[in-house]
Amino acid sequence: MRKTSGPDFSALRAGLDGQTGPRFWRSLEELAETDEFTHYLHREFPEAASEWADPTGRRNFLRLMGASLALAGVGVTAPGCDVYNDPPEKILPYVRQPENIVLGKALHYATAVSLGGVGTGVVAETHEGRPTMLEGNPKHPDSLGAIDALTQASLLGLYDPDRSQVVAKARAISTYDSFLGATLGVMDAQRAKKGAGLRLLTPSITSPTLARQIRALLAEFPDAKWHQYEPAAPHAARAGLKLAFGRDVSVRHRVRNANVILALDADFLANGVGRLADARGYGIRRDPGPDKNGMNRLYAVEPTLTVTGSSADHRLPLKAADVLPFALTLARKLGVSGLPEPPASTAVAAQARFIEALAKDLQAHKGKSLVLVGANQPPYVHALGAAINHALGNDGPDGTVEYAEPIEAEPVDHFASLADLCKAMAAGKVDVLFVLGGNPAYTAPADVAFAESVKKVPFKVHLGLYEDETAALCDWHVAEAHELEAWGDVRGRDGTVTIQQPLIAPLYGGVSAIELISGVLGHPGREGYETVRETWRDKTPKGQDFETFWRTSIHDGVVAGTAAAVVKVEPKADLGPVPAVETGEGFELVFRPDPTVWDGRYTNNGWLQELPKPVTKLTWDNAAFMSLATAERLGAVDGDVFEVAYKGRKVEAPVMVLPGHAEGSITVHFGYGRSRTGRVGSGTGFNAFALWTSDAPGFGPGASVRKTGATVRLASTQEHRNVDWNLPGNTAKERGIVRVATQAEYREHPDFAHHGEHGHEPKKGDTLYNADFPPPTPGSEPDYQWGMVINLSACTGCEACVLACQAENNIPVVGKAQVLNSREMHWLEIDRYYEGDPANPSVHHQPRLCMHCEKAPCEVVCPVAATAHDHEGLNVMIYNRCVGTRYCSNNCPYKVRHFNFLQFADLRTPSLALVNNPDVTVRTRGVMEKCTYCTQRISQARYAAEIKGGRIADGDLVTACQSACPTRAIVFGDIADESTAVAKLKADERNYGMLAELNTRPRTSYLAKLRNPNPEIETQTEPTHHGV
């Protein structure tokens, strides 16, 4: 069923690229007026085209696109079926139907989405040639079938109506052809001087094709220079490993093998390269196993409370600067030789007992332990980490760490590289500059004057998805094609290559970096397709013909045997002098990429803006995070705006209290305060890059803060909901909503989850009515009984499931104002509970979605039977029957129902209509909605199975959240069949239903959380809900 491209693809490109007209579009609306676009639509979305003919009908775009195939749904407002109330619909068949397109059936294509140059393999679901959903590619080593929020959300980026849609010369609209013309002119000039004045600035690049092209370019212009700059990448890791091994290597972790893990300011579960694979390894080991002793143990030492820290068995809040002395002290304890005296640190000294126990634990698990260091820490700490892992024998065979050839095409020090470029530009040595992607004008460190010096370049080109800060500085801006629109290739953490195939013709007619360079190299209009094939033609393995190799590679989403070669290295005995740990007056300022909008590339992405950031649950803003004590010392409460001064630079930032944050340290996130971005991102947050300097990329001392008196309302989906600091986590435990025990306690009381007041769950017999209403047809096959179990021990609160659910189920983005009014629509929310001491609370993550109660309180109170039960135990919600009394939500003890208070779903913006899943009704104003267990997937699976005459097998059917979850904490299936995975978990003694005491009989249940603390650090306590 695979095909090298989307429907009728090359023809479409021809149809578009030939035209100069389309390049004059400002917006889709305007675009719609042009024949070219209608033309294009006829081909891409045939049945939609008529709609574009009349402007009034445009809002029905999605409807017509899908509905004429009786697939999509808008307009749940039409009562009954009176067709005369609907606009008469057209059916526009293809003229030539592309092979393997079956109208009404989804196709799946394997490709990859990159972040910081490193790709995550995905499988994209497309309907009539428009991608509507991304899922992890099980064959890809970095995905293993899972997907994270950022990767998922790049799908929305594809359709972003604010994306750049033009080629612009000095901000005036021009054409790609005239751009190439101009470029070739200056290139000829450069050829004369061997390209001495030619510079290339790119983000991190692992793409073999792009690398090949750039090298070709450099070959043609020997004196030209290639600079790289990626603001949020593991620079320190690269440098640290070089320091340890004397050469560039890439590192891979086998977290699965580790019994004891120490994360030194490393948020490896949710951030950075290989996060999904690492999280999987961690999650698998959160299972006590048959001997109830199989869990790994995670120690986290970090300033900011991260996903990793919140999942740790032991978390030590330390200022970022104290991590080095901590690591050094530990390393010496572990007998790493040749290490100097650690710099004095009272904070570390105070933790002698902790370090003692930790060292012992690590020693006890030689070869099966793992020390991870975060990108924020200076290279020296990374080197230490490598040394410790070596000392513990973790880098041995089937150990937990292995080193390989670097995967970057050209590993360099990005800060130096950028600095060089700026120096050269300032000196006027640069005549031609190509900025291929990235947004250095915004992301450059404050001490590197990119914006100023770039002005000195006579001919500068920016290729980007948006007309952003950098585009504004360049003479030429070329709209870039989105990764899902263009051919390319990208490598994963272990070097495995994925060939990226386009899923749709460039919506706004952009070109990829590959195509642009082809153009510059004098092959204008050469397809990325050609170029990429060319790269791989000579890489074809022996005895295999290229076409088969090519097709298999694309089909599988990975190119076999492209993983980087493992290298055997040993850390140097002497790591050199300890870098002076700056200790200055005032606060330590910690810089991090934002958990959702990253370095600003996703600022205009509604899904990510509204996605509650892990742990903090903040949306639509960044903030200066600090501990409760610090805030109290400053007399600050959430939303108080402070002026943060650092190294002579100032920004104004709202404060947000983050329990468990290190004392005297403040964390700020990048990616906000953009000056040039789209409708979604404008006016959100403050710009942390303005304070950031290249000499201290992770953190630095000496920040001072001053209260401005201004306040902003921070739209956190949870914090604003409890006014006082008696942390609701305690309440949640008292109520048996979250049930926690240590592995040791679990050995003592395997049934601990059912102790105590709220432990009792009514048995089947405890209620009057158990019969199935209405009774099944006699002699018919047994119905499936759908159910879900969520393993709280494995859940890290990374929010991947939330976004997957949003993408799958057409869940609208409501905006900051509505979130402030707690009207966010996420069907699946991850509750974060702090428990205990605000200075270092234990954190519990609990995904909360519709429980599909067998005795659903919501159904009984609905006056119109808009929510009822089907025979498979689904609590179904029929939007078009709902009149919106909201009684069901009031009567839902779990509060998992979400109401369309206003017209939240965007029915107007055509490009956003494209992203909707045609198998799910788009809800209008005034109706209730909630998790449906992905009933559309159940139906599709059923059709597939029953047409073949069989039944749905366990595993054939996964919900969106389940497929996304990196740690596989969510399991869904038929609980009536004991052989299924979910049924086995339901039988587990840790399985409990939230508020089951109400006799709601929830179908969604939880595996009580297990922690695995070190008894030498944490004196054993009874599970708190005992007798509470």
Binding site: G66, C81, P93, L103
Partner: protein
């Protein structure tokens, strides 16, 4: 003095009162009827098309199988509308210059789709799937009527939820053998035979009748 009305008013009063009652009842009846009438459902209304395509001719006279054009009816939710190419497979040979077929040729030449008018339009929040109905033994004619007798296509059934439920509640009244699905002319010899056969087919094709009127069967 005090007499306000003429004696006739007594009769008038009674008449109006009774009249009102009957009028109200009658009105309800009318509303009930109108909502089931072709005016609301579009039933039996032949829809004009850009090309006077006659199913009667192609199915009845030429004996084309439904699946020749509606290719995906057995595999997809959507039965499929033939691309212009399909028309041209024959019409590049026969009736090459017929004026009636000008739009088809134009479509191919201009690479612009033919704009058919939709006839069977299920509301967007109801998810109908052709393939499963075919697999379970629902014949084309059961919903689309005797297409082989329709010069211009029209809606043979009201397609109201009421109507859908009619069959979902008692499928045995409508199911037919697998091999007769695409046969326009097939009909059971008698009510009784249909019921016997229907019950057998319900068993054979695993039709979970009890589940067919669950909301989730059609709504998502």
């Amino acid at each position: 003095m005090a007499q306000v009305f003429h004696p006739s008013m007594n009769t008038f009063a009674r008449v109006t009162i009774f009249g009102a009652v009957f009028f109200a009842v009658g009105l309800l009846g009318v509303v009930y009827a109108v909502f089931r009438s072709p005016y609301m459902t579009g039933q039996y209304v032949a829809v004009d098309q850009p090309i006077q395509f006659s199913h009667e001719h192609h199915v009845n006279a030429l004996g084309l199988d439904c699946r020749y054009c509606h290719t995906s009816v057995e595999t997809s939710s959507f039965a499929g509308i033939p691309p212009t190419e399909t028309c041209m497979t024959c019409h590049s040979q026969i009736w090459r210059d017929s004026a009636m077929l000008a739009p088809v040729r134009e479509s191919l030449a201009k690479n612009e789709p033919i704009r058919w008018n939709r006839v069977h339009d299920v509301p967007d929040y109801a998810y109908f799937n052709h393939s499963i109905h075919v697999a379970k033994g629902v014949g084309c004619a059961s919903c689309h009527g005797r297409v082989d007798q329709m010069p211009l296509i029209w809606k043979d059934q009201p397609l109201t939820m009421e109507w859908c439920l009619g069959c979902h509640r008692e499928p045995e009244k409508h199911l037919r053998p697998r091999e007769e699905i695409f046969n326009m002319k097939w009909a059971a010899a008698s009510e009784r035979e249909q019921l016997e056969l229907g019950r057998k087919l319900v068993e054979k094709n695993h039709v979970p009748v009890h589940r067919l009127s669950d909301c989730s069967t059609c709504h998502r």
